[in-house]
């Protein structure tokens, strides 16, 4: 097996594992997500445990990653370098949170629920991809306008 094939296979397995995690945790149930976001109603604290469990493991993994320069296959370790807390970050997070609360889907669970055959999840993913394409288009338009000035 070549290194590229092994990489692709491991990426597939991590995707599978991540999808399983979303299903087991309850993140793919919008009712559960909205139950967590409904502080004023009957509150379901489950999602705090999802976040807690994931971050507890992630904390050690990223601690290890920071001390390394190469990944397992000898390739680059792509750690984020951006540190700006700007208008884009805040406005983006606000819009995302509003959409998340509106239907109870975030991107990962939307994709997994679509694969499980939920018609509303299919519609959600199509609209989400459209929203992403609108962003790409506006972003390119903005950059072109900036460079032409």
């Amino acid at each position: 097996m070549t290194r590229t094939t092994a990489s692709r296979l491991s990426e597939f397995i991590v995707g599978l594992l991540f999808g399983w995690g979303l299903l087991i945790s309850g993140m793919t149930d919008p009712g559960k997500v909205i139950g967590f976001l409904d502080l004023a109603g009957s509150w379901d604290p489950s999602l705090a445990l999802v976040m807690g469990g994931a971050i507890a493991v992630g904390f050690f993994a990223f601690g290890m990653a920071k001390k390394r320069t190469r990944n397992f296959f000898g390739g680059a370790l792509h750690l984020p370098t951006s540190r700006d807390i700007d208008k884009r970050l805040l406005l983006g997070a606000l819009l995302f949170g509003a959409g998340w609360g509106l239907a109870g889907f975030c991107p990962g669970p939307g994709i997994v629920s679509m694969a499980a055959g939920q018609p509303k999840a299919v519609l959600f993913v199509v609209a989400m991809l459209a929203g992403m394409l609108v962003f790409e288009w506006l972003d390119r338009l903005g950059r072109r306008t900036l460079t032409s000035v």
Binding site: F18, G31, L37, D44, R83, F96, F135
Partner: protein, 145 residues
């Protein structure tokens, strides 16, 4: 506030969270990538030479998750999803999530899990902001209308 004990699933949610953490750990250490769904998808919509294969492989794995888990999981582990939002709300939500996650460079996985695990101030602010917006939206939908 009252606790919704009937829907509270502490063990399944904690176990699922640990699996999500393990996947994020493997992705950075084995593949050298941040496990952020909106970023992975965004890169597929505007593909660059040599930068789409890993995204496609990961996405295919996610798509295979429900059918494969159904083979191995004990019955009743995965509850049927409750989707209260109507079709119009689902479309608006999708547009907001798609545009917002790309503008803010991340979602629940990239900022919420990986960024928080790295103790990144940027991700901490993003996660606090999208959670606050989520709380506010659910308050408006459930308690004002």
């Amino acid at each position: 506030m009252t606790i919704d004990w009937t829907h509270f699933t502490p063990w399944a949610s904690l176990a699922g969270g640990i699996v999500l953490g393990l996947a994020s750990a493997l992705f950075i250490l084995v593949n050298g990538r941040i496990l952020g769904i909106s970023g992975i998808l965004g890169g597929l919509l505007a593909p660059k030479q040599g930068d789409w294969g890993w995204r496609a492989a990961f996405l295919l794995g996610m798509l295979a998750a429900p059918s494969t888990l159904a083979w191995v999981a004990p019955p009743g582990l995965i509850s049927a999803p409750r989707i209260d939002a109507g079709y119009a709300a689902v479309v608006v939500a999708g547009l907001l999530v798609g545009y917002g996650t790309r503008l803010g460079s991340g979602c629940t996985s990239g900022h919420g899990v990986c960024g928080m695990s790295r103790l990144s101030p940027r991700s901490l602010v993003a996660t606090g902001t999208f959670m606050a917006a989520g709380f506010a939206m659910v308050y408006v939908i459930r308690h004002l209308f």
